[in-house]
């Protein structure tokens, strides 16, 4: 997955989101080892300190954990990952509903429209 960083928001916040995404989508599987900070920073073309800061926050959130000697791992707690996945999904849906609302669709209309569009695609 390519790192996609916008220029108007703090970089570390965007890194946090994208790493979360990578974990819940299974690019970094539960219990797997992460590359070194330096490698991840080089891959995302960001400052290692910023990457470090993002990873530390994710550690604080419990999504990652580090072992003093061997490096940093994704949590083995699948429940935790699912929870974050659900949170992300909920946020997305909330965001979507808000935008639809601004277009003038209320909740019912939105759900109808959604059903309609997915059927057409299917």
């Amino acid at each position: 997955m390519a790192w996609d960083l916008k220029s108007d928001r703090p970089i570390y916040a965007q890194l946090v989101e994208q790493i979360q995404l990578m974990v819940v989508s299974g690019i970094y599987a539960a219990g797997s080892k992460l590359p070194s900070v330096r490698d991840m920073a080089a891959e995302a073309a960001v400052n290692p300190n910023t990457m470090q800061r993002a990873l530390s926050q994710l550690e604080g959130d419990g999504l990652l954990y580090s072992q003093r000697t061997s490096g940093r791992y994704v949590t083995e707690d699948v429940q935790k990952i699912m929870q974050i996945k659900n949170n992300l999904a909920a946020d997305l849906i909330q965001d979507f509903l808000e935008k639809m609302n601004r277009l003038g669709f209320d909740r019912e209309q939105t759900i109808d429209l959604l059903n309609h569009v997915t059927k057409e695609e299917g």
Binding site: L5, S7, D8, I11, A45, N47
Partner: protein, 233 residues
């Protein structure tokens, strides 16, 4: 030992008919990548030359790791000037030996590794190389030193986007741990992702020092956008 690798105390430098630095106070902490940003003629290069002992202050002080520029600071500062300073008559190999002879912290095998990745033959003479290749060799030499402070003057000025990516990648993956990188440029969009902090300098004055994320958080805009606002003509 102080926490700042570079410190300026009421630093003044004037040239005949021109005040290049106007009482600059500045402190660059260790372990950061710092952007020195300003338009042409703002005093960036003067500050960098002072830090390398290529100029002497008119008044005030500039300290590297608590020391005035001299032999001891030159041992720990790795400097990439805007010019290509390589000795034309040497081959790349001789140049590497030269760096190894004079700088104790020079890592030869690292240099050869990086050259190999770029398919540059160490036997080639610098005279026969294109300007772009020479600049890459120079960057490799500078980044192969395990220095405490890297001072890079316009490292991505006038290169194509692919080379720019290579240069930035080389910088972030090669500067030694706990070292500081001070990088001057006017191409902010390209570098802001790799910076911790920025220093805005204009007409010899420090206009602003801040972290990149602070600017984005507070101002809701990129450093580049803020720069355009501050230095609007």
């Amino acid at each position: 030992m102080s926490d700042s690798i570079l410190e300026c105390r009421s630093l003044v430098k004037y040239f005949p008919g021109c005040l290049a630095l106007n009482s600059v106070n500045l402190s660059v902490p260790k372990g950061r990548i710092v952007g020195l940003l300003g338009p042409n003629g703002s005093g960036k290069s003067t500050l960098i030359k002072l830090a390398n002992g290529l100029l002497t202050p008119s008044s005030g002080q500039i300290l590297i790791n608590g020391m005035e520029p001299g032999i001891e600071t030159k041992k720990i500062v790795s400097y990439l000037p805007e010019r290509t300073y390589l000795n034309d008559w040497m081959s790349v190999r001789t140049m590497i030996d030269f760096f190894g002879d004079f700088y104790q912290n020079f890592n030869k095998s690292k240099a050869y590794d990086m050259l190999q990745r770029l398919h540059i033959n160490p036997v080639d003479r610098l005279k026969t190389m294109s300007k772009g290749t020479k600049e890459k060799v120079q960057l490799i030499l500078v980044m192969s030193r395990e220095a405490e402070l890297y001072i890079l003057d316009e490292p991505i000025g006038g290169v194509d986007p692919a080379t720019r990516d290579y240069i930035l990648d080389t910088i972030i993956s090669n500067y030694s741990e706990n070292a500081t990188v001070l990088l001057s440029t006017h191409l902010i969009t390209d570098v802001e992702k790799i910076l911790d902090e920025v220093i805005f300098i204009n007409m010899g004055n420090i206009v602003l020092t801040s972290t990149v994320d602070e600017i984005r958080e507070k101002e809701g805009k990129s450093v580049d956008a803020l720069f355009r606002e501050v230095f609007k003509c």
